[in-house]
Each structure stands twice: as C-alpha cells, then as structure tokens.
C-alpha cells in the first residue's frame, strides 16, 4: 500500500508502515494511531492534517521515540534511512533525535526552558551531538540565530525566552532544530500559537531553510491554509487513521473524502464569493478508546448510508490518479457528483438531495 502521492523515484527518507500506537489507561486502551502508512522523500514536504485528537502528534512523537516512556504500545515499522526506529535501542534513538531528525512544537514559550538563556539551550543542542567546545557551540548558536533571522544575534543569544516575542521564540525553536542540520524536520503546529503575519514569516523561513539544507519536512497542522502553502503531499487523518492522501494540488482540486470536504468547506477563502457559506463539521472527534463502528467518520458524515455503520473502509486508489488514496464507502461516482454540488456552493443537505446516493446512480 503506497500512501504517498506523486513520489519522486528513489528510496524515501522516512517510511512509516502500518504504525499503531496504543496507550493503556484506566478507562481502556486509547488507539491513538491505528495503522497508518506514509512516506517522505528528502527535500519534500508532507502535510498531516486533522483535528486535535486525530493522532497526528502522537505519530510524530513516536517517530522520535518520545511516546515510549509514556507506556505506549507501538507496532508497525518506522524506517528512517533503512533503520527501524520502532525497535531501535533507546541510546541509538537518542543519537538520532535532534541530529538527523529534529522537531519543533506548537507553543514556543512553553517549549523553551524558562530559566535558561536561549543561547544555552542552543549550545546544548549542538553539544549533545557534536564534540565541540563551549565557545565553538556558542559561535554556532549565534550563527543559527542569524540564520533564522533574529536581529543582533550576538546580543540576543544571552537573553531568556521571555525576553523574545512569540515569533522570535519560534525562530529560536527552529534554530535549535536546525542546530545539527537534520535530514528530517517534524513541525507540529509550528504556527498555531502565532499571529497571522508572523505565521507567514515562519512558513517562509521554513521553506527557505528547506531549499538551502535539502531536508524533508513533515508538517502537522489542523490548518489547511498552512499545508496549501507548504506541502507537496497531504495526508488527512481522522480518529487515528489516514482517510485520504494525495498530492496537495489534488487534495484542494478534487478531494474524495467527506471529512476532507468538511475541512475545506469550513475555512474561508479570500478569492471565493463572499456570500459562500461556511459549513462547519458537526459533532466532535470520536473517542479513541471505543471508536464508532464501521467507518469511524459515520456519526458526523452527512452522506452516511446504513451499511456504513458496519463496514470498515480501507484506503483504496482513486481512479487512475497515482498516489491518491481514500478510505470511503461511497461510490466513486457519487463522491464525484457530491463534490461538484459542494463546489457549486450547495449545502451538504442540498448536495445529498441532488445526488441521492441511496438510489442507483
């Protein structure tokens, strides 16, 4: 099952195969990640999109081995340059963390240690993997701060995180992640805590650094606007699974899954007609302890059919479009016509009445 779209030839840098992450809790087993497969090539960007609680963060933390100590049960494979990170011993994984694979997090203020200077936190990232002197590491820290566009880095290196603005803190986090020129950067909601203007700057910075360093990026977000700008490929996650994956252009032009439609229709566009209504997805994300039967999305799906509560959909190729996969029980023809109706500005109810997928098409 190849779930990445329009892949360039050659071995992917990161290849996740049927990854499952479960947390035993007092209330039952939480199926945070329920069998996902994706891959990323060097120099490419994968956007993982989904609501909070869809398992997108847990899957990335697992890539770094950071869910191990939370008592997670992990199965499947995470192949990074041919090594399986799921079974790699902790000390070898630690050598990869922050060196070949780096991660930046959502809230830069709480992700930086409040009692250490930014410089100290940068130098320790360098010295964790490079045998350099304090002075050399400090030079590198100043260089990194300059690289991410912090003015007067030689002075600001000795400041504390609370003396930085929100955007500068995230720049400092990025500098920290880049300290050892990683091959893979995982960015978990990197712009969510920032102002819109600063968001654009941070995304532009990440794109520039990707071009300069040739690294692969996995960007995790609930914001389709962010992936539209950054991603080559997109994987849409719902309730611990990937429900649709395709190239970014394809996801925006011809999405196949009702959940993806919901995500697209619940964001305002600058260019569409002003009177076009937004359709928020009704309901809340499902419990990951006892997910809904059949298609996990069926309680919130406007187009649900009776047998969708029984049958569990698998990711299937869409038509002859390479790399486009969707896990939906609706007939391909019905899906196409529903999206046409939605694209014409109809509400989900109107679209359903028009297409009436229950009747033979």
């Amino acid at each position: 099952m190849n779930a990445a779209a329009s892949s360039p030839p050659g071995e992917p840098l990161l290849r996740v195969e049927d990854l499952r992450v479960e947390f035993p809790t007092e209330d039952g087993v939480v199926h945070a990640v329920d069998g996902i497969t994706y891959q990323v090539h060097s120099g490419r960007t994968l956007g993982i999109v989904g609501e909070s609680g869809s398992g997108k963060t847990v899957s990335s933390l697992t890539t770094l081995g950071l869910t191990r100590r939370q008592g997670a049960r992990i199965s499947g494979r995470i192949l990074f340059e041919g090594q399986d990170l799921v079974t790699l011993p902790e000390d070898e994984l630690r050598a990869i963390r922050g060196d070949d694979i780096a991660m930046i997090f959502q809230d830069p203020l709480s992700s930086l240690h409040p009692l250490y200077t930014v410089g100290r936190q940068l130098t320790e990232a360098v010295r964790a993997h490079r045998d350099v002197s304090r002075a050399q590491a400090r030079e590198r820290a100043i260089e990194l701060l300059g690289l991410v566009g912090i003015p007067d880095p030689a002075r600001r290196v000795d400041e504390y995180p609370h003396e930085f603005s929100g955007g500068m803190r995230q720049r400092a986090m990025i500098a920290m992640a880049l300290a050892n020129e990683p091959k893979l950067l995982i960015a978990d909601e990197p712009t969510t805590a920032l102002d819109v203007t600063v968001q654009a700057q941070i995304l532009a910075l990440m794109e520039r650094l990707q071009r300069e360093l040739g690294m692969a990026i996995v960007i995790i977000t609930h914001d389709l606007g962010v992936v539209a700008e950054m991603a080559d490929d997109i994987a849409v996650m719902y309730a611990g699974r990937i429900v649709e994956t395709a190239s970014a252009a394809r996801v925006f032009a011809a999405p196949e899954h009702p959940y993806t439609w919901g995500l697209l229709k619940s964001i305002p566009t600058l260019y569409g007609p002003r009177e076009e209504d937004l359709f928020p997805i009704p309901g809340t994300p499902p419990s990951l302890i006892s997910p809904p039967s059949g298609c996990h999305f069926h309680p919130r799906c406007p187009y649900v059919q009776p047998d969708h509560t029984r049958i569990d959909p698998q990711l299937q190729p869409v038509g002859d479009e390479p790399g486009h996969h969707v896990a939906c029980l609706l007939e391909p023809d019905v899906r196409r016509r529903l999206w046409e109706q939605l694209g014409a500005g109809r509400t989900p109810e109107e679209a359903l009445a028009e297409v009436s997928p229950g009747a033979p098409a």
């Binding site: 997090f105 809230d107 992700s111 930086l112 009692l115 964790a128």
Partner: protein
C-alpha cells in the same frame, strides 16, 4: 536593585519596632507578675519593691520605658540587662547564638540533601515500591512531633540512657571551637531529629514539583534534542527547585530564632532555651531581646529569599 534592598531593609526596621512594641505591651498587660516582686525574694518589704522598680525603671510611664529601650537598642545596640543575672542581653544572645546556628545549619544541610534526593527519586519512579516506602515514611515523620522523636532517639541511641549507646546524649553539647569532634557527635541526634520533619516535607514537595515539571513542554524539547536523560532530569530539577527554595529561606529564618523543642529535649544552650527560660521566669529584657532577634532573622530571610529568587528566576524583576 540597591534601592529595592534599601527599601526592604527600612520596612524591616519599621516591622521590628512594631514587634518590639507589641512584645513590650503584651508583657506588661499579661499577669506574669511584677519582675520587681520576683526579684525581691520572699516576703519583701514594699519599700524594697519600690526601690527595685526604680532601679529597673519600672516606675516610669510605659511609653517612656519603651522610648528609653528603643533609644538604647538603636543608638548603642544595647538590648538591656537580664532582671536576674544582670548580664547584658546582648552578650547572653552572643553566647547562645553559635549553638543555635550549629543546630540549624547542620539540620538544614541534612534535610536538603535527604529530602531533595528522596523527592527526586520518588518523582522519577512514581508508584514504584521505593516511592511508596519513601512517601509512607515521610508521612510518619511529618506527623511525629519533634519532642517525641527526640525522646525516642535519646531512649534508643543516647550513650548514657540509650538501649544502643551510640551517640552522646542530652546535655553533651560543646562549642565548635573548643572540641570540633565532640561538637559534631553531640549534634548528630539533634540534627537528625530537627531535620526529619523538614526532610519529609521537602521530599514530598520535591516529588510533586518535579513530577509536574517533568511533564512540561520544555522537557519534551530537551528529549527531542537528544540530550542524555541525566541532563533532561537536571533541567526538570532546576525548574522544580524554585518553590522549594522559598520555603527553605523562611524555615532557616524561623529556626535561627531558636529551635525551642529540640534545644530543650537535648539540652542544647541555644537561643530557644534562652527564650524559654526567660519567659518562664518573666525575665522581660531577655524575652524582648530573643523575640527581636527571631523577628530580625525572619525579616532578613524574607529579603534574602526575594533577592536570590530573582537570580534563580530571570522572569522575576524587582519593583
């Protein structure tokens, strides 16, 4: 910074004057007996009492007595003279202070080392067997009164009356300068008894504080950087220590004013015992002096805590 310290010190002095006034009034109002009568011996002549009152200045109006006292304190650093031995209160305190300092500092070192290390291990291995034993023991130690624990220790380990004659017992204290080894051995039991309760409190505080900081986002960042786990824990401890430090400063401040119970059980000639005897015998100048000393230590400890805290946490600014 300097302005801040000066302002805090001035407020401290004002607070000391208020403390002095309250003690002064309390002692006159409460029916502790007329010091002159106590001094005059059995069946005194009224004339003798009047004479003694005149010598001690007790016949003057209260406000004048207070004014005279404050003048002496501030102009000559003179805390008056004991009603009984006529010794100067200042030299009485100077004589007793080394014992209290020895007791407090030693116990503080002991409870910091024991409490924090137990707390750290418990926080990192929550719900393990060692954590449960440590937290159970700490609950017992917190609940055990110092004087009771002291008596148990004497009963078990004192070299004179103990079942296992290991440590010198009550009344064995000698000054550090006269015999360092005897000073050390005589203080082992008092240190343990004085430190036990605090060590237990610190262990529980550290456990709670560290388990909280180890869940912080910046700890996740530290791990994501690939730091060795030892360094990750160090970052957690660094953040967890601040609230504990605040408590430490105040507690040392309070103990320097005299650890009355432990000093009494082990018969250590410190400030606590001086104060206790002075109260029992209505020796007003000595009570006043020890109370002022205790208040001063607490005020100073507060100021020191606030200043050092600003160095521990760069987000704190003086204002």
């Amino acid at each position: 910074m300097i302005r801040y310290v000066i302002r805090r010190l001035l407020w401290g002095v004002a607070l000391l004057i208020i403390v002095a006034a309250v003690t002064f009034v309390l002692f006159r109002v409460l029916p502790t007996g007329n010091p002159a009568v106590l001094r005059a011996g059995r069946d005194p002549q009224p004339r003798l009492i009047k004479e003694i009152e005149a010598v001690l200045g007790l016949n003057k109006p209260l406000i004048v007595q207070f004014w005279d006292y404050m003048k002496e304190v501030f102009l000559h650093f003179n805390l008056g003279y004991s009603y009984y031995s006529s010794e100067s209160v200042r030299s009485l305190i100077a004589e007793r202070l080394p014992a209290t300092l020895s007791l407090t500092i030693g116990a503080a070192v002991l409870w910091i080392v024991a409490g924090l290390s137990v707390g750290i291990v418990s926080a990192l291995r929550r719900h393990s067997a060692s954590d449960r034993v440590a937290m159970g023991t700490s609950l017992v130690l917190i609940s055990a009164p110092e004087f009771w624990l002291g008596l148990i220790f004497l009963y078990l380990f004192a070299s004179d009356i103990g079942k296992f004659k290991i440590f010198p017992g009550a009344g064995s204290y000698v000054g550090l300068t006269s015999d360092p080894w005897k000073w050390f051995t005589s203080l082992i039991m008092p240190w343990i008894v004085l430190a036990a309760g605090s060590a237990a409190v610190y262990a529980r505080l550290m456990r709670g504080s560290l388990s909280e900081t180890m869940r912080e986002d910046y700890i996740r960042t530290a791990r994501a950087k690939g730091l060795p786990e030892r360094d990750v824990v160090r970052q957690g401890v660094r953040a967890a220590i601040n609230p504990i430090f605040t408590l430490l400063g105040l507690e040392i401040g309070i103990l320097l004013g005299g650890a009355v119970l432990v000093e009494t059980v082990f018969n250590i000639p410190g400030i606590g015992r001086l104060n206790y005897h002075a109260i029992r015998s209505s020796d007003f100048p000595v009570v006043q002096g020890t109370v002022l000393l205790a208040a001063m230590f607490i005020i100073l400890a507060n100021i020191v805590v606030d200043i050092v805290y600003a160095y521990l946490d760069p987000r704190v600014r003086f204002s």
